[in-house]
């Protein structure tokens, strides 16, 4: 379960104390385990402490709050999605196909988080509600990925060049947002089947030169 949580030094999250310390990884590992099994709320910091055999106080040498630990776990989750989407996009040759894959794999990966790691999804959802840094970063990265595809399509002549790149990026992102944002996803279930196909078609028609 919990998928391949391999490298931990991911997004820059609010932390403190010695960086790259072994105990920090132990905390993240234990937190991933506990949060995904019992949920963020039901896990006490002292539970994590017990799990790694240290006192609760020691945990606060590495993270300045429980939320900071949650941010770390959340960032890892979202980074997994991001990696998956990046990979899907890179597997395509033309910008239009890249865009289609961004839509499709983005929705798929988000849905998988919801159905297979519900507790972690809940962290992501509340992180989105409270605008945690991890979610802001995730959204920015997805927009960057999108912008790169659009830019590449403009250079290759696949996409129109009149509309300002930033406006197009934002617009297309807004079309995607209900399915990528963890908080919104749960209100869009009725459409997750049809949306990726239809919306990427709509957007591609809009982008044609």
């Amino acid at each position: 379960m919990v998928r391949g949580m391999t490298q931990m030094k991911d997004y820059p999250t609010s932390a403190r104390g010695p960086a790259g310390h072994e105990v920090r990884d132990q905390i993240v590992l234990a937190a991933t385990e506990h949060f995904s099994r019992y949920g963020y709320e039901k896990t006490a910091v002292s539970d994590l402490a017990k799990a790694i055999g240290y006192s609760k106080a020691y945990i606060y040498k590495f993270f300045e709050s429980k939320q900071a630990i949650g941010e770390m776990i959340c960032a890892n989750c979202l980074h997994e999605i991001e990696k998956e989407v990046s990979q899907a996009v890179n597997g395509a040759d033309t910008p239009p196909e890249k865009l289609r894959r961004l839509f499709k794999s983005g929705v798929e990966a988000s849905l998988r988080l919801f159905f297979q790691d519900r507790k972690l999804y809940e962290i992501a959802a509340s992180a989105a509600t409270e605008r945690w840094q991890s979610v802001v970063t995730y959204e920015n990265r997805m927009q960057s990925l999108l912008r790169e595809i659009l830019q590449e399509g403009r250079l290759s002549g696949d996409f129109e060049r009149k509309t300002p790149l930033d406006e197009t990026t934002l617009s297309v992102y807004l079309v995607l947002r209900p399915y990528l944002n963890p908080l919104l996803l749960q209100y869009s279930f009725d459409y997750t089947e049809a949306a990726p196909g239809h919306l990427s078609s709509l957007v591609l028609r809009s982008l044609s030169p």
Copy 2:
């Protein structure tokens, strides 16, 4: 306050007892007043009864549940939005301009509900969460309005005709949904400024023949 709640016989909502009865209107009136002032949850059915000078039991001769009353009030709210949007759309001549106005006035009207009748907005939001009939009907009506514009644009030659009308309708609706659906709106505040303009432009580019 509460805006011009004029005619009450709006959407077909689950009701019972003699139709067109004077007391039914009194109930709706009192409910509108109480719900918008104190909120749906904080208003007891017996409060409404007291307000109109009847017993609580009598109210249940006209509505089969408190939720049914809420549905009525919610439907009225949404109908107000719908009327406003219809009016804005009818004030335009060409289908593209109608579409722009649908976007713009839809967002404006929804935002006004949020900021000026917060308690009523909350009813609409929870109605959306629990998929009350009033919201389903509202969404269907908005889609119908959209479909008519698209169809008109196809006939006038303003819009492309290759994509199936129903697919286009759904796609464009999905683009709008985050700003029209009361539940989603509150998570899209950051974009309500830019979204109507940018998204209608994106959609119009997509619709061009």
